[in-house]
Amino acid sequence: MFDLDLWSEIVSALKKNRLRSFMTAFGVFWGIFMLIIMSGAGKALENGVLDGVRAFATNSAFFWTERTSVPYEGFQRGRRWSYENADIQYIRENVKEVEYLSPRLFGNFQGGTNTVRGERTGTFNMYGDYPDYFKIDRWTPVKGRLINEIDILQERKVCNIGERVVEVMFGKEEDPIGQYLKISGVYYQVVGVIHAETRINIGGGKKEETIIIPFSTMQTAYNMGKVVHFFSVTSQKGTKVSDLEEKLKKILKERHKVAPEDLQAIGSFNIEKEFVKFSALFLGIQVLTWIVGIGTLLAGVIGVSNIMLVIIKERTQEIGIQRAIGATPATVIKHIVAESVFLTVMAGYIGLSLGVGLLELLNQILIKASESGSEIFFRSPEVNLTMALSALGVLVISGIIAGLIPAKRAVSIKPIDAIRDEG
């Protein structure tokens, strides 16, 4: 039931006791505001870090070779070795737990300028990849298409290029698709402009500066024989990638006469492990946010109660008068509680809006900053609405209690004593 008269009484009482209202409201406002900012910032950090890896297949592992560290079967320690096509073939045929398997070759071996088109030159990271790679570390075509199986089979001289490559090697009006780039001495036709969905970059450098050509083309064109520099796998559903990682290591050691106890010879990395670390980190941040949030809330509650206690005296007399002229205790309590609820809800709402507004402003600034190319591990601050609303709920309830205690006291003493309670 909405009682207009009650509310206009309340609003006018609050308006005429500006300082009191303001101080009470400020405690609540500050509590909510800080909570929003805190949790938003925590979430932003989480988003910032996770955004870069989210699109990355979490069941993926990566392998490369290092020099051996243990002598074995007549080989001395310190031997250099590498994977070969046959290894890839073997894994494909014999290891059923593998979902995607993508060998890779690293180009731009001499360093320095490797890409030429007319008068334009540039230095870019060059990789020879299988199409499966796009499923592990996700790339999407902005224009044209991704490299496909037929490119691999026919060893086509085609390439996918990153957005930065387009900027450097082509004019603003030019369409790169179908054009040719001379990369490390060989001409390739551009078939797609690609955009990376993750910021994890294997092999270093910026992902926008990437050129990808078919794996088989790279092996042939640059006379690399059967060598594989690096490969990525993902595990089938139901298989832990860590288990797969160990299994593959064992197979590879056997195939290349590497000592089983050699921990250095096979370099590997698995995203699952990193995700576990991240998850722990964010759990920590979340716990911290809650601790600080609850602390701020408590401070807000204490603030509200304090102010309410301070105004008991003033209130006591006022209530005494009201009762002497016919207000029932229920009316008095209803008034005071409605006042504090109104105040806390308003203040909470303002705190909520301002906090969210500030986060949105921050978000805009961050978007601008990341558009200008800076690496920011702090993005999309967002607020858990349930958390914010439950915090508001706590404040409102505490506001009611804080209003109820002085009201109960004022009602429990005799009106005449309340009136006599001078100053």
């Binding site: 008269d5 206009s8 009484e9 006018s12 009482a13 005429k16 006791n17 007399q317 006022e318 005494g320 008068i321 009201q322 009762r323 002497a324 002229i325 016919g326 207000a327 029932t328 205790p329 229920a330 009316t331 009602v411 005799k414 009106p415 005449i416 009136i419 001078e422």
Partner: protein, 241 residues
């Protein structure tokens, strides 16, 4: 109208009990103009509180308009106060953040009368008391006499049967005191019972009946005809002092 029978009242002060009223028997008829006098601690304010249903009593009976006032719930006594009694206090006790009109209208708010209507009624009462131009002033912008007149208007607005005034002139200078007393006299003339507590003899002398309390008992009741004598005694007392 008001019928008190052997009223006792004591206050618990820690472990001590303070026996304030020690058997009060009192009849006040409709339309009386009564003052209660007595030295401080004689129980006059306590008596007024009991009359105004702001306080309860320990022993005896109190009938107001034929109703026994005893062990009433706060809600019921608040309603009865609102209907039957208007209060005027020494320190005016206006709500500081409401203007004169809103203060006067407040008792009607508790009766559930809509804002427009009650403000209109409040204006009528303010006009009666010559405060129409001050309707929108806050209490702290008014003089003591004006504030007390606002308080009287507030006491009158709910059409009470009784006005209870606790030292209504205690905070006022003598000229203003007489003005206020004139107003209370007019109120009384309109048929409302007026009971005031005072320690000022000249104020008490303007009422038609003086009840003198001493140590929780009624010491003497001086009625209209005897007032002249009382006044003479009072002046005599002043001269000899």
């Amino acid at each position: 109208m008001i019928r008190l029978n052997n009223i006792h009242k004591s206050y618990e002060m820690g472990s001590n009990s303070l026996h304030v009223l020690k058997g009060i028997d009192l009849h006040i008829e409709q339309g009386d103009f009564v003052s209660i006098m007595g030295s401080s601690g004689s129980g006059k304010s306590t008596l007024l509180n009991i009359l105004g249903m702001l306080d309860n009593y320990d022993k005896g009976t109190y009938h107001l308009s034929g109703n026994l006032i005893a062990n009433m719930s706060e809600k019921k006594s608040a309603k009865l106060r609102n209907e039957m009694v208007g209060f005027v206090f020494q320190s005016f006790n206006l709500i500081s953040f409401k203007n004169a009109m809103e203060n006067v209208a407040l008792p009607l708010y508790y009766k559930g009368i809509p804002r427009k209507k009650r403000n209109q009624i409040a204006m009528e009462y303010l006009e009666k008391l010559g405060l129409k131009e001050w309707a929108h002033h806050m209490p702290n912008e008014m003089s003591g006499g004006q504030k007390q007149r606002v308080a009287i208007a507030r006491a009158l607005i709910s059409n009470p049967k009784i006005i209870l005034a606790d030292e209504p002139t205690g905070a006022l200078d003598s000229a203003t005191s007489y003005e206020v007393m004139d107003i209370l006299k007019d109120v009384n003339d309109s048929g409302i019972t007026v009971i005031i507590v005072t320690h000022e003899h000249d104020i008490a002398a303007m009422t038609s009946q003086i009840i003198r309390l001493n140590d929780g008992r009624i010491h003497e009741i001086i009625r209209n005809g005897e007032l002249k004598k009382f006044q003479k005694n009072y002046i005599h007392g002043l001269e000899t002092a």
